[in-house]
Amino acid sequence: MEIIRAERVYYNYYNRFPALIDVSLEINKGEKFAIIGSNGSGKSTLLQILTGLLFPSQGRIFFHSYELSEKSLREKDFLGFFREKVGFVFQDSDIQLFCPTVLDELLFGPLQLGLEKQEALERANEIMQMLKIENLRDRPSYMLSGGEKKRVAIGSVLTMNPEVLLLDEPTSGLDPKTQVFLLELILALNEAGKTIVISTHDLSLVDELQSRVTVLSEEHRVEKTGSADEILKDEDLLLRVNLIHEHVHYHGQTAHKHIHSHYLFHRH
């Protein structure tokens, strides 16, 4: 069952620089979906459009067959319905955390939804336990490490129990342990029935998630949509969109020239 649909979406920054050109895609309920592309291809813009934070210059976005627009998101009832169901985790956790303490961050969403304080507190405690951040409960966000901030940012969205979780470059800038933790979390949430949408240029993450994938080109268009296997095996496509590159590299005295991606093709 389709949950999000983008129809021929265009977006320009400052009415000048194109970020998305004629982008169409469908995301089904309960699936894992990855939007991949090189830097500046428009991944983050597309995610922000799918979450109703930006609005396309042309084209339409649907959520559960309701059209997302500036006008529809000014309707109180629809805004509540949409924000409850769609959670967005920004790449930069710093900008997402705006409450005095970690606990306040986790409570913000459920209280917005009109939950009783007790229930909101229970949710916050359960999420802190799951994300192993109970010890951070009373800390302000500026006293957290990068990995901790990311956990709190995800937690702040999860306490709203969204149906769809969109994560912008979720593993970027995190240490390997936190990356593995996040990956396991994403898989567990998906198994719990959540629809997961991520944007990334980390091909190993796509490989691990085994999600359906849409590839954005450097020209800001959808280059191809397919299964993770299908996309990751298409070296020509990955070369074309600049996600892998040819690389000269030495083993002792011998130089090798081969296609290079730090995660997929570089395992010796």
Binding site: Y66, I95, P100, E126, L158, N161
Partner: protein, 308 residues
């Protein structure tokens, strides 16, 4: 991990469909304020793009442009007659057209600011209460005139001929100053203008501070816009005034802290690249014969206006 998922996250009960078209949320002052920040970014990009195009003044050396601009401002301020001011207005129009500036966009800005800061501010001085003379446009007729301390309020209050000419003069000066300044901005990338201030003997340290401040405006505007989007993504209704003020206060504190950290980082980066207290900006390309000739021609035009 799978077993740690809280039970409420497993609850997939679908919430009732929204009732459409009810309870509209109007844009808050934060929405509007953030819109202005986005405008700052847009303007910055627009300025850079416009100034990087090819045109008569675009290719002209920035140092000469800055000196001539200052001289032009002095000439505009010294003129006391309407006709030469009109001449200057026409000359700037010709220069703008030669430089292929978008005239509609250009003059829309000039006239709007000129109207606000020239005409509206100067208008009260055209009243006979301030500038004495023959009343051309009467506004109020009182039963008699009044004298209060050193002030005299005449029986008929209105705009005088002399007053109107003062207002016209002031408005023209503002319009001319604005159009010559905008013309420089439209034909020169801002970083070039800052560097060109070197010819006015502005110390390099000040120039680097201005450059950093200008750059930070963009970083700042982007952070503010992103922070707002992050909040918006977790909002399910309208924000009341008190909550909005709390958020703004919290974010100001956050930005202050972030700015301090960025300042430290920039300083470390400068030290890492050899900064030892003295700033040396790279030298400009040589001023060509073409630059000197155009500069001389414009200088003569400005002198003619000064003497006319």
């Amino acid at each position: 991990m799978k077993n740690d998922i809280p039970s409420f996250l497993l609850d997939t009960t679908s919430s009732p469909s929204p009732k459409r078209g009810r309870g509209r949320i109007s844009a808050s002052y934060i929405d509007k304020g953030i819109g202005s920040f986005a405008g700052v970014l847009k303007e910055g990009y627009a300025q850079w793009e416009l100034a990087s195009k090819k045109g008569f003044l675009h290719e002209f050396d920035t140092r000469i442009k800055v000196v001539l601009w200052l001289f032009f401002i002095v000439v505009i301020s010294l003129k006391k007659e309407i006709l030469p001011e009109l001449g200057i207005f026409f000359a700037i129009f010709v220069l703008s057209s030669l430089s292929r500036v978008n005239l509609i966009n250009f003059y829309r800005k000039v006239f709007l600011l000129g109207f606000l800061f020239g005409f509206l501010i100067a208008l009260p001085s055209a009243l006979n209460v301030i500038t004495h003379g023959r009343v051309l446009v009467p506004i109020i007729t009182l039963s008699k005139s009044y004298d209060f301390w050193v002030y005299h309020i005449p029986e008929v209050i209105g705009f005088t001929r002399e007053g109107i000419s003062v207002v016209a003069m002031l408005t023209l000066r503002v319009l001319n100053s604005l159009s010559v300044s905008f013309l420089i901005l439209y034909t020169t990338p801002f970083p070039e203008i800052i560097k060109a201030l070197k010819v006015l003997k502005v110390p390099d340290t000040f120039l680097i501070i201005i450059s950093l401040a200008y750059k930070y405006i963009f970083i700042f505007a982007r952070i503010v816009t992103d922070m707002y989007l992050a909040k918006k993504s977790r909002l399910v209704g309208a924000v009341n005034g008190a909550e909005a003020r709390d958020w703004v206060a919290g974010r100001i504190a956050f930005l202050f802290k972030k700015t301090q950290l960025k300042c430290d980082d920039v300083f470390k980066a400068m030290i890492g690249r050899g900064f030892s207290g003295e700033i040396k900006l790279y030298r400009y390309r040589k001023i060509t014969g073409k630059d000197w000739s155009i500069g001389f021609f414009l200088f003569v035009v400005e002198l003619l206006f000064l003497w006319s």
